[in-house]
């Protein structure tokens, strides 16, 4: 079990980190995910691969963490400095901060499909299995999530829903 968790830990953490948007919440989410895996492993029925199942657990843990965070008072997104304008930090950190700012701006239901596809390189069938969604929904959500991101990248100051701005 130990080696199993170690094998998958990096990706589980990566999912949590991208979806949670910061290290502290990612740490909470990844710990929750590991606990859920060890508690649920005896109920794991093998219908999906362990990888798919564990990533689903991680995704759910991260989304739960996001929901908990929304109930906590946090600084408004608009108050966070746009990192791309901070020349004093190196490009890697800038990139990381930029994506940490951009991803939370897209609706929650689009975040996980985009992260699983573009960060982890999972194909649509794997994402569908992981998120327990129809493949067509996955396809649509990835497209819509990317459209949101494209709009944010195009105009970082404007966070309105691109689907409402025809």
């Amino acid at each position: 079990m130990n080696s199993l968790l170690a094998t998958h830990y990096d990706r589980i953490y990566a999912i949590c980190r991208r979806l949670a948007g910061n290290d502290a919440d990612a740490a909470d989410a990844s710990q929750e995910a590991l606990m859920a895996i060890v508690k649920g492993i005896h109920r794991f029925d093998g219908r999906a691969s362990f990888k798919t199942w564990s990533y689903r657990v991680a995704t759910n843990a991260a989304l739960d963490e996001l929901r908990r965070r929304k109930r906590r008072p946090t600084p408004a997104m608009a108050d966070i400095e746009v990192p791309s304008t901070a020349p004093s930090i190196d490009s890697e950190i800038a990139n990381r901060l930029a994506i940490d700012d951009a991803l939370p701006q897209i609706p929650e239901e689009f975040q996980a499909p985009v992260v699983l596809r573009d960060l982890l390189g999972m194909d649509y069938a794997e994402i569908a299995a992981t998120l327990e969604l129809p493949a067509g929904t996955v396809r649509s959500r990835i497209a819509r999530g990317r459209r949101h991101l494209a709009k944010i990248l195009e105009d970082p100051g404007n966070q309105t829903d691109p689907e409402k701005r025809q």
Binding site: M1, N2, S3, L4, L5, A6, T7, H8, Y9, D10, R11, Y13, A14, R17, D23, A26, A27, S30, Q31, L34, M35, I37, V38, K39, I41, H42, F44, G46, R47, S49, F50, K51, N95, R96, A98, I99, A102, L103, V114, R117, D118, L119, G121, D123, Y124, R139, S140, I142, A143, R144, G145, R146, R147, H148, L149, A150, L153, E154, P162, E163
Partner: protein
């Protein structure tokens, strides 16, 4: 922005659009524009640094999870050892038909002896239906007392099993003939293994390393057996291995632990399945190939 075009353009970026869909929008400037815009968004995420856990976090979190895993396993083991659980350990372990393991060879022996006695009486001309019935009754009573002594089951349960045995009486010796010797050996191994298992706990997956080969266990594992399995190199092509499930006609014994030890498939992370043990806490093992065909079974 056209949601339908976005959907196809996005799928095209991922190589998930069909030829028909691509043909439909070939030469469409709106499609090309959408594709390049969404490609930027896709690359924004895909080219970002893959987040890494801060140093030490992985070990700390895995250690915490393992503590939970051990605690859960210990709790399940305690529950499995409760007296309310039907006796399924050691010599009293049930066969797949629900009889105690010793029951089948005992039944065969008694049936053969009874048959010989009846035949002898018939052959000597002294046999009558009454004495044959007496023999049969004696045989039944002997089995009843053995079952009662072994399992402490109530009379109804015994009667039910005896009825099953009587109904299939003609077929039973034949179907169990091949089993009896093997079962005796298995039983002895299981008895020895039971003693070892108490020390093994639920750390078995960590003890077994088949160098990346898929591996399903379906045998009672002892430390020496685990060490032996760790040296094996099954002839496996991991690329085509998926997993072993009912769809592969792989039927793991109900209630028994099934472990699939981590393996690498085209560089992908390994898969591990762990099914819970039965009430007896026993563990059994099979080694399977990529088609889930059993290569060896102890």
């Amino acid at each position: 922005m056209n949601p339908e075009i976005d959907k196809i353009a996005s799928a095209a970026i991922d190589g998930e659009a069909t030829a028909e869909e691509l043909a439909r929008y070939e030469g469409d400037p709106g499609f090309s524009a959408a594709k390049s815009q969404l490609e930027v968004a896709s690359e924004f995420v895909s080219q970002s640094e893959v987040p890494k856990a801060p140093a030490g976090l992985a070990q700390a979190q895995i250690a915490l999870a393992m503590d939970q895993f051990r605690a859960d396993a210990a709790q399940r083991a305690v529950l499995a050892a409760q007296p309310s659980v039907p006796p399924q350990t050691g010599a009293a372990k049930a066969s797949k038909w629900g009889f105690p393991r010793w029951f089948v060879p005992a039944f065969c022996s008694i049936a053969v002896l009874a048959g010989l006695g009846i035949a002898a009486q018939n052959f000597s001309g002294g046999g009558d239906s009454e004495s044959a019935a007496d023999q049969a009754t004696a045989t039944t009573e002997a089995m009843e007392s053995m079952i009662a002594a072994d399992s402490g089951s109530d009379g109804d349960a015994i009667d039910d099993r005896m009825e099953e045995g009587a109904e299939s009486g003609a077929a039973m010796p034949e179907s169990t003939e091949a089993m009896s010797d093997d079962d005796s050996a298995d039983e002895a191994m299981e008895d020895d293994a039971m003693e070892d298992e108490a020390e093994l706990g639920f750390e078995l997956p960590d003890l077994i390393d088949l160098d990346g080969a898929p591996f399903v266990t379906n045998e009672t594992l002892t430390p020496s057996r685990v060490a032996e399995l760790a040296t094996k190199q099954p002839p496996i092509e991991p690329e085509t291995y998926d997993r072993c499930g009912p769809e592969h006609n792989f039927d793991a014994p109900d209630g028994e632990l099934v472990l699939v030890i981590p393996f690498t498939r085209s560089g992908e992370p390994a898969e591990v399945l762990i099914y819970d043990t039965g009430a007896d806490g026993g563990r059994t093992a099979l080694i399977v190939n990529e088609r889930c065909e059993v290569l060896s079974q102890s």
